[in-house]
């Protein structure tokens, strides 16, 4: 699998009122990779992800998945939003199987995949619970399981832990990292949290705001056997400091 983002720009409005949300973004991501786009608000990071998901059209440029142009949303790209995305009338298990039902998967496969994914995200006991009975972290795990259920080639995560408490956020990052290792799914993560991006991804693109553009690419080569230890690693701290500094200077 190869996802190609080629020179995309997105402008809102026309004439003098044109606002350039993102400008000339190019990058690509291949099977099994975990990459992050990091930027402050106004850097257009969500716009980029929405264009890849097919929910918005770029003004210029294109996105290709395995050589095919992206023209709209599709099963090859699973998406997880920051919040409010579970169907409140469906249980956790029914939420997970929703997409499979839409695409007429075989009943046996739906059942099997649903229980497999409930196990992967550690929510077997919450299968029959409704979203309003689940904590914020559990809801996001259901949303991730639901996106994985239809076997996408790539998982697009739009600040998936941005609305969670700090303590829960760290355990969710660990969860996501282990999920990635176990399922070897391809992940593109959007976040404003440098530490999150460093802890999880292999490559980080730093975005500058107004208009949103990539100003730096960072390859992360750190030992990630234990995310808790990783946070104490001097190399981790050094990288985090450098990148935070870049982002801070952009704000001036």
């Amino acid at each position: 699998m190869k996802l190609d983002v080629h020179n995309i720009s997105k402008h809102f409005g026309e004439g003098l009122n044109t606002k350039k949300a993102v400008e000339k973004i190019s990058f690509s991501i291949s099977s099994g990779e975990f990459k992050s786009l990091v930027g402050s608000s106004g850097s257009g990071k969500s716009t980029i992800l929405r264009i890849i998901a097919g929910l918005d059209n770029p003004t210029k440029g294109y996105v290709k998945v395995d050589g095919e142009f992206v023209k709209g949303p599709g099963l090859d790209r699973g998406m997880v939003f920051q919040k409010y995305s579970l169907f409140p009338w469906l249980t956790a298990a029914e939420n997970i199987s929703f997409g499979m039902n839409l695409n007429s998967f075989k009943l046996k496969e739906i059942k099997h995949r649903t229980s497999y994914l409930l196990e992967v995200v550690g929510l077997q006991d919450a299968a029959q619970k409704y979203p309003n009975e689940l904590s914020g972290g559990m809801q996001q795990r259901v949303a991730i399981a639901r996106a994985l259920a239809t076997n996408p080639k790539i998982l697009l995560l739009d600040e998936p832990f941005g609305a969670l408490d700090l303590q829960i956020r760290e355990s969710m990052q660990k969860f996501l990292y282990e999920l990635w290792e176990r399922t070897s799914v391809t992940v593109l993560l959007i976040t404003h949290d440098i530490e999150e991006a460093l802890a999880l991804s292999q490559k980080i693109y730093i975005l500058a705001p107004n208009p949103g553009r990539i100003i730096k690419e960072v390859n992360v080569e750190l030992q990630k056997d234990d995310l808790n230890k990783l946070r104490l690693d001097p190399n981790f701290s050094k990288l985090r400091y450098e990148l935070s500094d870049i982002l801070r200077n952009l704000q001036k």
Binding site: A53, G54, P73, L75, F87, W89, L102, N103, A147, T150
Partner: protein
């Protein structure tokens, strides 16, 4: 010092009968609800006992009760109830069948809304009762004009209120469905209609009251049986006891309808209540 502190607390406690946003305990709630019915009934009996108002104008609760028994005994009451509720359901069901899909479509597709909304907004302000002469000319004096009147009086409000509730479907749910491979039909039926179901049921609950009001208007014009017809006849013979009895029946049926919709909401949309 301490005692004055305590009395202060007591005062605030006694005020809590109507304290803002606080649900009363079950027993207290039931007592209050019963008071709501029985206090006016009590005053009504007192006024009749004292003979302040002539019984011709204000029949006593007992007289009304006997009149009710009388009409029930002769079967008129049930005939009337059957005829009136039949008309209400007829008109209301037609209005629902048309307005729910139309409202959902208008809420979901802004262009379709632009096409329909101006006309509906205007039709809505034409009082349904004003259509009845026309309906009699077109449809005669049987059931059709009565059911049509109820339909006309309910359908536009239903459409606009359903449309509004559809606009509250979170964008995230719609976009999630699209990324999960859903098409327009899936969106409309499995997500938009499903998400709006609680507010649609609530809309129907509110608007069936309008239908119920209109059935009386419809029966005043031309009817053999029906609660409205009975009230009109009772007026001719100065039977205020019958009018009171029929009014109470109207209120009671309305109350039962309202409760049924509330139960329907509770059992079909547990997640929303």
């Amino acid at each position: 010092m301490i005692s004055s502190e305590l009395t202060k607390r007591d005062k605030s406690l006694s005020l809590s009968l109507f304290s803002f946003g606080k649900e009363p305990k079950k027993l207290k709630k039931i007592t209050l609800q019963l008071t709501s019915i029985f206090l006016p009934l009590f005053f009504w009996s007192i006024i009749c006992q004292l003979g302040i108002v002539s019984e011709m104008f204000l029949p006593s609760p007992m007289a009304v009760f006997y009149s009710l028994l009388d009409m029930a005994g002769s079967g008129i009451l049930f005939e009337d109830i059957f005829a009136s509720t039949g008309r209400v359901f007829g008109g209301f069901i037609f209005a629902t069948i048309l307005s729910v899909p139309l409202g959902i479509a208008m809420g979901a597709f802004p262009s379709f809304c632009a096409l329909c909304e101006p006309l509906i907004a205007m039709l809505r302000y034409m009082p349904a009762a004003a259509f009845s002469p026309l309906l009699i000319i077109y449809l005669g004096i049987e059931e059709a004009p009565k059911i049509s009147l109820i339909f006309i009086g309910t359908v536009y409000f239903n459409v606009l209120m359903v449309m509004d509730s559809v606009k509250f479907v979170p964008k995230e749910l719609i976009e999630t469905t699209l990324t999960l491979g859903g098409n327009t039909k899936d969106l409309l039926i499995k997500v938009i209609a499903r998400y709006s179901l609680p507010s649609i049921i609530d809309t129907l609950r509110i608007n069936i009251a309008t239908s119920w009001n209109l059935v009386i208007v419809a029966e005043l014009i031309a009817a053999e049986v029906g609660i409205g017809k009975r009230i009109q006849l009772a007026q001719r013979f100065f039977r205020t006891d019958q009018i009171f009895a029929e009014l109470i029946v109207l209120g009671f049926i309305g109350f039962v309808l309202d409760m049924s919709f509330r139960f329907l909401l509770k059992y079909t949309c547990k997640w929303a209540v």
